[in-house]
């Protein structure tokens, strides 16, 4: 008489799935942070006729304290043009977009040199703004 072997169940422990997903997520979040500027505090100005932004590899922020950040990292006014030029490299026209995010109360003494630096570096400047609504 043949004794039927009891089938063995070999499941992958499903507890680990959550942990793996969690760790992967943290990994990608940290990786994304390297070029991210979401931690920089600024309030956008409002303007008429704003359009959806194209994606860009370069973003410059002037925060609430008037400090300049290039892709989330603080940078001096003097180094800005060179750093942007290096980042844009030999990108063709149309792919040289630089997003400019200026705090609405920033003064001309802070934002004018930045605009000039982007222009000098050959960047195609896009001011990040909110749509102005007429009340």
């Amino acid at each position: 008489m043949k004794i039927a072997r009891k089938p063995m169940k070999a499941d992958v422990p499903s507890v680990a799935m959550g942990d793996i997903a969690f760790n992967l997520l943290i990994f990608f979040v940290i990786l994304a942070r390297a070029q991210d500027d979401t931690h920089v505090r600024w309030e956008p100005a409002k303007a008429i006729g704003v359009q959806p932004n194209s994606t860009s590899r370069v973003s410059v922020v002037i925060d609430t304290d008037g400090k300049i950040h290039l892709n989330g990292r603080p940078i001096g006014e003097v180094q800005l043009a060179g750093a942007i030029k290096e980042m844009l490299g030999s990108q063709p026209e149309g792919k040289r977009t630089v997003l400019l995010k200026v705090h609405r109360e920033a003064r001309a003494e802070r934002f004018e040199p930045v605009i000039e630096a982007i222009s000098q570096a050959g960047g195609e400047m896009v001011h990040v703004l909110n749509q102005e609504t007429k009340e």
Binding site: S14, V15, M17, G18, D19, A21, F22, L25, I26, V29, T38, P44, A45, K46, A47, I48, G49, V50, Q51, P52, N53, I62, L99, K101, V102, H103, R104, E105, A106, R107, A108, E109, F111, E112, P113, I115, E116, S119, E124, M125, V126, H127, V128, L129, N130, Q131
Partner: protein
């Protein structure tokens, strides 16, 4: 005496699989909440400095901004910001060539960005292009 049923048997542990899912959903929630930055804007092209110098030799339009958000100076005339779109449109109507429609924007150091972008947007919408002249540069010109 009847023995009481052990309490430890009644405690039911939550499924450990769920904790991972909860953590995942929490992270996604906070990431979505954190990314509230606007994704709209305005493109602005500044002419190159050489081109600007050339155009400045011609009679270009000059707009001076200060920290007053109700007044500005257009070619030396004090103008209300509410009247500005009509006045700039009238000036542009006398200049059919786009290269003549370059507006030199001069701002005092305390001009707020909100005011600056508001006015320069109106210039662009009227068909003009802008070039900025900074205060330090103006000082150099005066010294010559």
């Amino acid at each position: 005496m009847r023995p009481r049923r052990g309490l430890s048997k009644l405690l039911v542990e939550p499924a450990a699989v769920a904790t991972g899912d909860i953590a995942f959903n929490l992270i996604v929630f906070f990431l979505v909440c954190a990314s509230t930055q606007p994704s709209t804007g305005r493109r602005q092209d500044l002419p190159s400095s050489e081109k600007t110098k050339q155009e400045q030799q011609n009679k270009s339009i000059e707009v001076s901004l200060t920290n007053s958000e109700t007044m500005l100076t257009l070619n030396g005339d004090p103008t209300k910001t509410t009247d500005f779109p009509a006045r700039i449109a009238r000036l542009f109507s006398q200049k059919p060539r786009p290269e003549d429609r370059v507006v030199v924007v001069k701002s005092t150091q305390d001009t707020p960005y909100q005011h600056w972008i508001h006015i320069t947007s109106q210039i662009q919408d009227a068909g003009g292009s802008i070039t900025i002249q900074r205060e330090e540069q103006r000082t150099e010109v005066v010294g010559q």
